[in-house]
């Protein structure tokens, strides 16, 4: 779809940090338990490092690049997925309510999520810039913005 937008690039930073922390946590116990320099020690280290590198240098940037969204007069469009590509199109007239979701990362990175709910279906767009999230909520539900901000 034309005229689509990407989510905030700060999502890459958040996920890279999360991947590094997860890899560190996973490595701690084997590094302590196994004999340093042994075959098993190297195997675990290289495996975890390999998976982390795959995620850090390929999957996370590809995931960010795959995410596109757009809000038009008739529909809300959201696409994502590296290996499993999903495209969602929701009719605006079926939107019952919209939620602006702030999380602990919001004050640090200025990101938020928008949840669009209809009768029988919903859609969540994550890692939006806060201003962008407000604009989407204002566009879909102007009378609710005062309470949500």
């Amino acid at each position: 779809m034309k005229n689509t937008h990407h989510v905030s690039k700060k999502s890459i930073i958040i996920l890279e940090v999360a991947a590094f922390l997860l890899a560190s946590v996973v490595l701690v116990i084997p590094m302590i338990v196994l004999e340093s320099g042994s075959v098993a020690w190297w195997a675990v280290l290289l495996s975890v490092a390999g998976v982390w590198a795959l995620f850090a240098f390929w999957y996370i940037p590809a995931w960010w690049y795959s995410i596109r969204y757009a809000v038009t007069d008739h529909v809300i469009f959201y696409q994502k997925g590296v290996l499993f590509r999903t495209t969602q199109v929701m009719r605006r007239e079926q939107v019952l309510f919209v939620s602006l979701v702030r999380d602990p990362f919001t004050p640090i990175f200025g990101t938020c999520s928008v949840m669009v709910s209809g009768a029988g279906a919903s859609m969540v767009i994550s890692f939006l810039r806060l201003e962008e999230g407000r604009k989407i909520v204002e566009s879909l539900s102007p009378e609710g913005l005062a309470d949500l901000s």
């Binding site: 009719r91 079926q94 209809g118 009768a119």
Partner: protein
């Protein structure tokens, strides 16, 4: 009109399931106790006190439960410590259900439920036990805005044979087994464990006699399932007998049942979609089962949202034109991609292969059980081969059409083929999914289309292996504003 209490039988309803646990032991003891009534009271006074407290609590709940059938809607007030008052306008009501069991006819009581598009998927918005006069008043007032000035009432009444077909194909072995086991267990509670053990022992002996060379364990399982299915079939027959559907204005009125009469009043404007269902058997017989999806209808336990129990294609088309002409069925305009046949066949072929491989493995490694292994392998392969035949049929069946602002979706799920007619304004979201094989293939042709329709809970229709460019262009052309894939 003032607020009214539910029918007094509601007091018994509020307490019955608790009293039942206590009353059975005392009636049994009372019948078998030989030392006299006074002695019996001395022994059972505490249980009697609990029963009286339960009945008192049920009475208090009844006192604090009231309703008023007004001209524009119904007011319901309930709660003892947390008081809740609710008003539901008739214009928001999707379904009104009136249930009249035969055992309540002498006391003129009926059970009434109302449901709207809001609220939970598994609960009704209002559920009351009323006097028959109040229920008739409610039914009349709720149907009045729907009927308008439309004087003509069009009625469809299926043959009993078609009701039998519906019960035959939708009866559930599990529900039948559960019903029969509950019956045997409760009989044991009333007549004693010894009677229950004798009954179960007799049934086991009968099964042994009728095993006809089958392994006894297999025969017991087989006859239990068959017996359960038969009980389920009879229950279905009783549930759907005397089925009638009528249309007047925007009101669709359905009645069914013999021992328990049920009357349903549906708002046509709130119908989400109409669904034709076929299994392979009914496809070969040329029969369709027609269901209608609206909030509240078909929510009850063991209940189906039936519009037509079964019909030939011509009968279904003619009667749908009579009852719901605003939801036509169109021919398929977008078919699955030709390469998609393997996507349909993958699962059944894998299942066939897995069971075959397991059977071969067990045949060689468990020589003393070869007979059982062969038998179980055949039993496992039959449904898999049936599944394969169904998926081959599903490949030619699957597709999407559009006419008069109504989508026609054709797809398969489990062992059934579905044809769904859903108004375009009831489509909430469309999702296109590609697995890595589809996404990274050189032509990037195929995807799975999931259509979400308006419902209380989530309602999805899944069409696999569609041509991505074609289906995106199709939805763009019909109002979903998607540009063709770049």
């Amino acid at each position: 009109m003032e607020y009214t209490h539910p029918h007094p039988i509601n007091i018994v309803e509020n307490t019955f399931k608790y009293c039942f646990l206590l009353l059975l032991p005392f009636f049994r003891v009372l019948f078998f106790y030989t030392q006299g009534f006074y002695q019996w009271v001395r022994g059972a006074w505490f249980d009697l006190l609990i029963v009286l407290l339960i009945i008192l609590f049920g009475y208090i709940r009844w006192v604090f439960n009231t309703f008023k059938v007004a001209n524009r809607g119904i007011y319901v007030s309930k709660g003892i410590f947390i008081w809740q008052k609710r008003f539901i306008p008739y214009t928001n009501v999707a379904t009104v259900i009136v249930e009249s069991p035969f055992y309540w006819m002498p006391i003129r009581a009926v059970r009434v439920t109302l449901d709207t598009n809001a609220g939970g998927k598994h609960r009704y918005d209002v559920s009351l036990t009323m006097r028959r006069e109040d229920a008739l008043n409610l039914m009349m007032k709720s149907q009045l805005p729907l009927r308008g000035n439309e004087g003509i009432r069009k009625t469809y009444r299926p043959k009993n044979f078609y009701i039998g077909v519906l019960s035959l194909l939708t009866s559930n072995s599990l529900s039948g087994v559960l019903f029969a086991s509950a019956l045997i267990s409760q009989t044991g509670d009333i007549l004693g464990r010894e009677f229950e053990n004798q009954l179960v022992s007799q049934l086991t002996q009968i099964v042994h006699t009728l095993a006809f060379g089958l392994p006894p364990a297999a025969a017991i399982v087989g006859y239990t399932l068959l017996g359960g299915w038969l009980v389920g079939f009879l229950l279905g027959l009783i549930h759907h007998k005397n089925f009638t559907a009528s249309r007047q204005g925007n009101s669709l009125y359905i009645s069914e049942g013999s021992l328990i009469r049920r009357y349903y009043s549906l708002d046509v404007k709130k119908i989400h979609f109409v669904q034709l269902r076929q299994s392979l058997t009914t496809k070969f017989l040329g029969l369709f089962m027609v269901f209608v999806h609206v909030s509240g209808y078909g929510k009850q336990k063991n209940s189906l949202a039936v519009l037509m129990p079964a019909a030939t294609r011509r009968e279904a088309e003619r009667n749908l034109q009579l009852l719901l002409p605003e939801m036509p069925f169109d021919r398929t305009e977008v078919h699955p991609h030709k390469d998609g046949i393997w996507g349909f066949l993958f699962k059944p072929l894998v299942l066939i292969f897995v069971f075959l491989a397991a059977a071969i493995f067990l045949y060689w490694f468990l020589p003393s059980f070869r007979g059982t292994v062969v038998f179980m392998a055949i039993m496992a392969e039959i449904p898999c081969i049936w599944f394969l035949i169904l998926k081959i049929t599903a490949f030619s069946h699957t597709g999407i059409g559009y006419t008069d602002a109504v989508y026609t979706l054709r797809y398969s799920y489990a062992y059934r083929l579905y044809t769904v007619s859903v108004p375009a304004n009831r489509v909430v979201k469309v999702q296109f999914k590609q697995n890595p094989w589809q996404h990274f293939s050189s032509s990037n042709h195929r995807c799975t289309v999931v259509v979400y329709t308006y419902a209380e809970g989530r309602q999805r229709h899944v069409l696999p292996n569609m041509d991505r460019a074609e289906v995106e262009a199709f939805f763009s052309m019909h109002g979903l504003g998607i540009q063709p894939a770049e």
